[in-house]
């Protein structure tokens, strides 16, 4: 017996007060998993699902931004990047940023997923989808989210270089919180 038949069986036994059983949804729809609008994910980012998550008939523009692992950084050949996150805080902070963007740019919907783990060159590490009636604010909202994410969300990356070395990336160049020679 399939799960749907099992449910139908239970509902029928519940008596005349049981609500009518909704028709089964077509398999093509039922098999599409919905995704949260904000998430730290450990597997590949489902870009199609992210775009669906901001689907809105009132939107005339949906901007999709993908951040991907680049093969060089500051002149060094990169073979891959380890991403680490303080997941609970990162999701909380991404939600705050998405809310800010929504009120600033009046987006109809916004979604942002960031991946953690070891990613090879070319693989998406972050995806942002922004939907709006018009294209200009959709672009602005996606831009706002990525810029703020890079500044505020507790996610870190350790670059692996082709020469076999690896290093945590510090966009502050050590200026913010480090005195010379403190951290190896």
């Amino acid at each position: 017996m399939t799960p749907v038949q099992a449910m139908a069986g239970r509902a029928a036994e519940a008596g005349p007060q049981a609500p009518p059983i909704p028709p089964a949804r077509p398999a093509s729809v039922a098999s599409v998993a919905s995704v949260p609008t904000v998430a730290i994910v450990e597997g590949p980012i489902d870009v199609d699902a992210l775009v669906r998550a901001v689907g809105d008939p009132g939107a005339g523009a949906t901007v999709l931004f993908l951040g991907t692992v680049r093969e060089t950084n500051e002149g060094r050949a990169v073979s891959g990047i380890d991403y680490q996150a303080y997941a609970a805080m990162a999701e909380r902070e991404m939600r705050v940023i998405a809310d800010e963007a929504a009120s600033r740019f009046r987006t109809r919907a916004l979604a942002v997923h960031h991946r953690v783990g070891h990613l090879a060159v070319g693989v998406p590490s972050v995806a942002i989808a922004a939907a709006h009636e018009r294209r200009a604010p959709a672009f602005d909202a996606a831009r706002y989210v990525i810029e703020q994410l890079k500044r505020r969300v507790p996610i870190w990356k350790r670059e692996h270089y082709v020469d076999g070395t690896r290093e945590w990336v510090d966009p502050t160049g050590g200026a913010v919180d480090r005195t010379p020679g403190e951290l190896a």
């Binding site: 996150a85 909380r92 510090d170 480090r178 005195t179 403190e182």
Partner: protein, 79 residues
Amino acid sequence: MTLTVLLFASYADALGRRELDVQVGPGATVGDLVARIRAGGHDRLPPRPLVAVNQEYAAYDRVLATGDEVALIPPVAGG
């Protein structure tokens, strides 16, 4: 009170661990906690790392309470 401090990325590497139990007195601030960690032999940490309390960035004069979730936040580099 004893607070468990979460460590990430370069700070976790510098201290060789992902968590640290730190004993502080009542009324201790975030600044007191950082000073205590550094005085406890962890001077490989920078003098004023970013700190989060209960998953929000916190000022150094923030007073800590039992059960607070504290984390040291290395310079972030998402994207």
